[in-house]
Each structure stands twice: as C-alpha cells, then as structure tokens.
Symmetry: C2
Subunit: 345 residues, 2 copies
DNA sequence: GCGACGGGATGTATCGTTTCACTACGAAGC
DNA sequence: GCTTCGTAGTGAAACGATACATCCCGTCGC
C-alpha cells in the first residue's frame, strides 16, 4: 500500500511541520527538548517524522551551533596495529559522547598531515587527537588559536600548551634491557629505527639507563641502525646479525614488534635458535607478537586505554572551556615475558 | 609584531570582504572561480584571507550545496589488516577527489552498523561503502531511496540494486587446494570459520571444486570447524591436529591468514616441521603472512585495489546520476607460493 | 555621439535548523 | 472582574557560503 513512496531527495523539518500541522519550531522542540511539548502534539509530530522518513540535516545543525559533532584523529600509519587499537579506544569513547570520528592517515608525511588538518579545520571539528609527524605545525597552532582543543597522543607535549597522553618509553627501554641483563646476557644488541623519532630515542635512553644501573658501560650495547620501523628493516638487521661469525650478541632488543618479527624470521631461516642461541625482545606487544612462531617477549603499551584517555581529555577540554587545565598523562609500560627470551647457559 | 593576534573564534567570509574592501560575493568568487576575478582584486582578497587566517566553513557550504564532501566507509573490523589495507585504497581515491572519509567500525554488530548508517545519513554523505553485517538493512535501503549511492564491498550484491566489488572466493579456495593436490597431498584439512560468513562458505565450495576436478571425493577433505577468524581459533585447531596420532593430514588450508598463523605456531610448538611434516596455506596474504617464521603460502586478494575500485565506482555513480548503470566487479585472487608448502616425499 | 557589449563586481535570496522573544489562552488569586 | 501566572506553541532572525540576476562603466563600432 505504500509502494508509491518515491524518491524524495530530502525531507526537511518544514515539511514535517506542515504534515503535522504545527510550526517548525515545535518540530525542533520535539527533536531536542521533547519534554516541553504537550503529549498529543509530540506524538503527532513523531508520527509525521516516521511517516515522511525525516532525518536531521547535520550540516544545518552544525552551521547554527557553530561547531560540529565530530572529532579528528590523525595517526602516522593506520596499517600499524598499534594505531588501530588506539583508534578503537578513541572511537569507543567518542561514540559514548555521540560524536563521530574522522580518521586521518598522515602516512608520516608532513604534506598529508597538513592537508588533513586543514580539512578538519574546515569541518570545524570539536577537537583533534594527533600523533604529529613533526614537533610543531603551523596548522596545529592555528587550530588551537581558533580555540579547538588539541591532544597530543604518544608524543610528550614540548610546550605544555596542550594536553597529551604518552607512554614512558624510557622506562620501557629500561624494562626490556634490565630483563635481558638479569637473564645474564652480556652482549646485547639494540635495533634502532630513525633516532629522530622520539619513541626510538627514548627507548634507547632507557636501555642505556638499565645498563648504567647494572654497572655496565654504554659501549657494551651494540647499536644497529635501520631505516624504518617495519618488518623488512628487521629482516635486514637479522641478516646482519646472522652473518656475524665472532662476537654475535646473545640478545636483541628491538624498537618495535614489527622489527622483532623480522629478526625472528631471519634467525629461523639461518637455523639460529630462539631463545637458545639468541633472545629477542620486542616493543608494543601487538597481537601478532603473541602469535609469532616463537611468542615474543615484548613491552606492552596500553593502546586502547591510551586512545580512551586521550578522547576523554579532549571531551573534557571541549566542555570545560576557560576553566580547563592542560595535563600530561604518562602511562607505564609493562614487560610481557614469553618464549623468545631465556637465561644464558 | 603580530603577537597581539588573539582568540578570534572564527573569521567569516564577511569579515574578509570588509577587510579587503569588496563584497562577500567577490570573496566567494576568489575562492571558487578565481579566474573571473581581476588580478589586483584577487590578490587583495587573497592577502586578506591569509592575514585574517580565514578557513571556509564546510558546514555552510554543505548546507547550501545540499550534500557533503565526505563518504562513509563501514567495515567489520578495523583491526583486521585486510580492512585497513582496503581503507587505505578507499582513502587514496577519495583524497584524489577532494573528499574526506568517515571510517566506521561496525564490529560485526548490527546495532553499531545501524547507528553508523544513521549518522552517515544525518551527515548527508555523498555515498557509502559498506561490508554489511547482514544482507539487507532498512537503513541502507532508506539511504538508497534518498538517492545516496551505496557500493557493497567484498559481498556480492544479492539484489543487483547496487554496485558491488568482491573477490572470487570460490576460485581462491580452488587455487589453494589445487596447489596442494598438485604437490601430491592426499590428506588435506580445511579449517573453516563460521559457515554463515559468505567468504567462508565460498572458499569451502572452491576447495570442493578442486577436489572434484582431481577426481577425489568430498569426504577426502577433513573439515575442522572453528568459531572465529582469528589467531586464537587457529591455535585451537592446530592443537587438535598436533594431537592426532594416526592419519594426521599432510596439508592444511585455512580460511584466513590469522588462523594459519595460529596453526603454524602450534606446529612449531609441537615440533611438527613446516613444510616437511605438514604444509599450510592461508588466505588474504596480509603482510604478516610473508613475515611469519615460516613465510606462508597464501591466496592474495587485491585489497587496496578493491578499495580503490569501490571508491571509484561510488564517485562515478555519484556523478553520473540517472545515467548510472550498476555493476558487479569481481576480482580474481592469486596464489602466492612461499615456504609453508612443499611436495610430499 | 550613441548604443551595444562585456568584463568585473555586487545585492540578496537561499539552504535547514535552532533559539529567543513573544502571543494566546485558560486557570487561579484577590 | 481584573490582574497575574504558567503552559503550549509560534514567528522570525540568525549561522556562513553560494549563485543568480543585476548593475556599473569603460570601449568599440558605426
């Protein structure tokens, strides 16, 4: 009986009002403050809304309200499980507050990051969560000047001009290397990604700290530099280690799990047993770390919680206005010991 | 010298016009059709825009234009590398067209999917790319009635009422099992996820087809059912296989790579050598497949291309209007042979 | 010298919603 | 019977950008 319903491109509040025999203001009230509308009227309007298939126009609401009901999340690499888990945490929290998340992938490129920040600014998002490619971006500064809350994720705020959440990477590096030292390892290698990345530098610093505390010299840590934080780089480093005839390290600490998986693969290929011949420690504790052929010992970061907390701080700042106090939250990482590490014989 | 610039909440086109001494229409023209504005005027306006830090209000544009410059992408699981790669393809293509992507994670829940579709409808998105949780959703139908293009991703269109892109999963299953049969394997196991998932059913069907063609009976395929398409399920199945004392299969075909990784891990743990004692084939060819301790033979799906194509079809439909013809694109999967499979001795 | 022309700029209605100020009207208080 | 009050509903002005119709004015052709 309703087969003649046809392609109405869009039903506006005005048509609903006409259909229900009330003013547009009343329809708006039904939508936003139903309690102030008398019961019979309210029901009549609701019926019209359902019958006409009316759906609010978010653009119009936003225009009127001056800001949107979305937040932006800018990450370095959506393909990295670390960031997907983080995104998941952000999404959960945003959903709870009735906000949508625009997920932007800067791909480690300043150009893309800039473009996305402009887009988010045009959309008048309620706030931005970002792991910045570089320290200070002019777009970011402009967003803040406009009054848009910005929370730095996994990147300590240098200026204290904003909120930030991060994990104590120095402690993480310390934990990893302490674990290896306690297991009796004398000769430890550190596979480092680009030192310009703060996380890499901090984890390295933590490694040195552990060494010092154990009364060892910095030179005792054999550093192998690789170009990126991915599996391929780990394989290259692994090949180098396998090629060492004398003085091969008995343990390796990798800047992240992707590298560790690459190293592990090379060890297997060269019949170097893990952990009997060499121990491996990764970082991030991504799901694939536990599922590796030799389950990886890794430093776990509270990824989802990181996302949730960041989102909550953003919402709080957004609501709090002038009264808001910026804060820096630092989480503690945790060492998860699995089969890829063992004591020296 | 510009330190007194302060918290202007937002600069509108009107203020730019006043600053440059022109009308708002001219500012709009500079923004949208710069060629029709005289050079000196254009420069003056541009200078004002820069000085005041003006950024367009996307909501207002959208309201006027009647539709937004964003598209929605609804996936089942952002944590699955298959979907992140797909999203990457969509994003690239959307970016090229100057569109933003709202990434929604339905988490395999009908409730969340529905909520997201409502949100996308409120945002008047230009189109929706979706891997639906269930076949037909009323929200989806309503979106289409409104005239919003919808493209089904990785899910063959049942009604032909819309565009779709998918990969030939029957062929994929066929390729995998044919490969094993050609290598001389007589006793093959299939680790199946929930059969209600179309992909699972299709891959199974393909496996049977290969068997038939080789003159073998369906009963020759040993089916092991598991509850989900993840690593944990694979481990469970792997444990079952390891426990078999007699008649253990010499090859396993897994519904996806996560399961395959789980199986591989269990084999290693039980000192069952891969591929000497047992061959393993996965599905999806995620990056971690190549990086596994024993690099996995897997059926590759053109993930990024899937995303790109879907996005392109959506844009085309969005532009084409009435003239548009719905089409179903089916990609062919490809078998990538690595070290996890070998011929029987 | 006058009309036609056209490049360049402008005035303003419009998109859909929200909200503020206001009206209508019956009930209650004195 | 008049004022006061409260409840329910309405009119209309925003929000910011766009685009259509229009206008202004200097040039050119004849």
């Amino acid at each position: 009986m309703s087969s003649q319903k046809r392609v109405r491109v869009s039903v506006s509040i005005r048509e609903v009002a006409a259909h229900a025999g009330v003013s547009v203001a009343t329809v708006s009230n039904v939508l936003n403050r139903p309690d102030i509308v008398a019961r019979p009227t309210r029901d009549r309007v609701s019926a019209s809304i359902a019958e006409l298939g009316f759906v609010r126009n978010e653009s119009a609401r936003q225009l009127r309200a001056g800001r949107s009901r979305t937040i932006g999340l800018v990450v370095l690499d959506v393909a990295n499980p670390f960031f997907t888990d983080l995104a998941r945490g952000v999404e959960d929290e945003a959903n709870k507050a009735g906000l949508a998340v625009i997920l932007c992938n800067s791909d480690d490129q300043e150009r893309k990051e800039k473009r996305y920040l402009e887009l988010l600014e045009e959309h008048r998002v309620q706030g931005v969560l970002i792991t910045p490619v570089v320290g200070a971006s002019s777009r970011l500064a402009r967003l803040q000047r406009r009054g848009t809350p910005v929370v730095l994720v996994d990147s300590r705020s240098p200026s204290r001009g904003q909120c930030s959440v991060a994990v104590d990477d120095v402690l993480g590096g310390d934990l990893a290397v302490s674990h290896l030292l306690e297991a009796g390892h004398q000769h430890i290698a550190f596979i480092a990604g680009p030192r310009t990345i703060r996380q890499v530098a901090d984890r390295f610093e933590g490694a040195l700290r552990a060494l010092e505390r154990a009364g060892r010299r910095h030179e005792d840590l054999h550093v192998i530099d690789v170009g990126a934080l991915n599996v391929a780089s780990g394989q290259k480093a692994g090949a180098d280690i396998a090629a060492m005839t004398a003085g091969r390290p008995t343990a390796v600490f990798c800047t992240n799990d992707l590298i560790a998986l690459g190293v592990l693969q090379e060890m297997t290929r060269h019949k170097i047993r893990v952990p009997e011949d060499i121990s491996i420690v990764g970082y991030d504790d991504i799901d694939f770390a536990a599922a590796a052929a030799v389950p990886l010992t890794s430093v776990r970061q509270p990824r989802q919680q990181l996302g949730r907390t960041a989102a909550r701080m953003l919402l709080e700042e957004s609501a709090g206005g002038e009264a808001h106090q910026h804060q820096q939250v630092i989480f503690e990482p945790e060492l998860i010991v699995r089969q890829s590490t063992a004591a020296t014989r």
